[in-house]
Amino acid sequence: MHQKFDDLGRFADPSLLILTSLADGPRHGYAIMTDIAAFSGVQMEPGTLYGALTRLERRGWVRPLPAEDRRRPYEITGSGRAVLAAQLASMQRVVVVGQRRIAPA
């Protein structure tokens, strides 16, 4: 049965996508959404984005920067970077094993 990759959940985790988007520099909300769409194909909605941003900010993994004309950029923190690196490393292991196992013998 066909399943969308998104249904795996973890690979489309909004927090993961947002941290990945912020990893190469601060972005405001709309720029995060378009960047995520560009690199992952996930069309994140504003409610999801801001729900995740609220949680990430509370955990200290992103921090808000001064607003620029109502648009507020966010940047990733040191601990946010550490969490992202650890999560990507764990996914990398899954990718390596998965690719090896589906490769033709």
Binding site: E45, T54, R58, A67, G78
Partner: protein, 422 residues
């Protein structure tokens, strides 16, 4: 359609809790100026608003839907149907969110103001901030779990037998019984002049010293439910100590109390006669605010770690008290702020300091058997996942700290690094 969806999306933003809107509302509306709203945008925001209302941080406010008198009559009808859907979904979501809240957000950057660990390293307590918020009681070890929340903030202190917890509020230090760690019971209050800066248990497990800016108060907690105030040491009694710092510790024999001073030195007090503490001396040198303080368990010696990663070892005997400063490798952190831990080995021959910050860790171990020559050090640096306040468990061989690696599983976040000292 997109015009209507756009208006409904804005309507949904007004359904978020007021306090949330004050912080995020404007930028979210700015985002909607750029984003082409679709029906799923509206539903997504409705769910977001509901989820935020269920978030304990915003839960106290009611949901304010616009009344039927709104000019957007059609909009209100659609909104009502969305809201009805949301209510059904909400029931399911609430269970999920409630479950998450029990474990979520407990070891955030703002929940690392204080950390204390029982001597068997089976119980730990983390504090959210200085004197405010809540503390979390953790079971650590093979099956880590959040056991309970108690009102109060840093500083926190556990009796070595982990049966009593002291937590700080702005007006008093609260005594909690942890006879059942899953159900802490508030049993007494220790009022003080302002908010406590530091708390230390004496080796007898019944005497407690609480440091305030201008005084240190000694308490007898032989009966934790009935604290008895023994004496107060005014800061002015110590030459050169106009103000007390956060670090405070009893010597292993319980006869000496060491307090950090605002001049970045350490003042020593003879507390052999508890009702009449006597000022002894101020030792050490100013190398930045004192971040950690430790007495040697076996020698008349104490060490402190300053904010700039310098460790000072002070010999407490002999006519010429000797202070020896040893720098640690400095680590840089983009997140700002380091956490430190300092401990002697149980036999008192080695001293180990750890600094953590920005995913980097630096640790040095010095042979402190003789202070007559520069201390031989074994230092190393590396990367780490530890983030937030770290501490050595009593005994000085086990380092404990929060590990944010466990994505969405904060119950596993308090980790033990038993091999660090080798």
């Amino acid at each position: 359609m997109s015009g209507l969806a756009g208006r409904l999306a804005r309507l949904m933003v007004s359904c978020y809790p007021r306090r949330w809107r004050r912080r995020y509302g404007d930028e979210l509306l700015a985002l909607l100026d750029e984003h082409r709203a679709r029906p799923r945008t509206v539903a997504n925001l409705a769910l977001g608003a509901l989820g935020t209302h269920l978030d304990p941080a915003y839960r106290r406010e009611g949901i304010t839907m616009p009344g039927p008198g709104s000019p957007l009559r059609t909009a209100a009808t659609v909104a009502a149907s969305v809201a009805a859907t949301v209510v059904v979904l909400g029931g399911l979501l609430a269970l999920q969110i409630r479950h998450e809240q029990q474990t979520d957000g407990v070891l955030t950057a703002d929940h690392s103001a204080g950390l204390t660990v029982s001597s068997d390293t089976r119980l730990g307590v983390t504090a959210q901030a200085d004197g405010i918020g809540f503390d979390i009681v953790w079971r650590i070890g093979a099956h880590p779990a959040v056991l309970a929340h108690v009102d109060g903030g840093a500083p926190v202190a556990l009796t070595p037998d982990s049966r009593t917890l002291l937590a700080t509020t702005p007006a008093a230090v609260i005594v909690w019984s942890l006879a059942n760690p899953a159900k802490p019971a508030r049993i007494a209050t220790m009022p003080g002049p302002g908010m406590a800066r530091g708390i230390a248990y004496a080796p007898d497990q019944t005497t407690v010293a609480v440091a305030y800016a201008r005084t240190v108060v000694l308490w007898d907690l032989a009966d934790p439910a009935a604290p008895h105030r023994i004496a107060a040491i005014p800061a002015t009694a110590a030459a050169g100590a106009p103000d007390f710092g956060q670090q405070i510790a009893f010597s292993p024999d319980g006869q000496t109390l060491a307090t950090a001073t605002a001049r970045h030195t350490v003042s020593l007090w003879d507390v052999t006669d508890l009702p009449a503490p006597r000022y002894l001396a101020t030792v050490g040198r100013d190398s930045g605010p004192v971040d950690e303080l430790a007495f040697s368990p076996a020698r008349p010696q104490l060490a402190y770690l300053s904010d700039n990663s310098a460790v000072t070892v002070v010999n407490l005997t002999g006519p010429a008290r000797y202070a020896h400063a040893a720098p640690m490798p400095s680590i840089t952190t983009s997140a700002g702020g380091h956490s430190y831990a300092l401990a002697y080995s149980p036999d008192g021959t080695r001293l180990t300091a750890v600094a953590v910050g920005g995913s980097r860790l630096a640790t040095c171990t010095w042979n402190v058997t003789s202070l007559s020559r520069p201390l031989p050090a074994a230092c190393r640096t590396g990367s780490t996942h530890l983030d937030g306040d770290i501490t050595f468990a009593p005994g000085g061989t086990t380092l404990v700290g929060p590990d944010p690696r466990e994505w969405n599983k904060p119950q596993n976040s308090l980790v033990i690094w038993p091999t660090l000292l080798g």
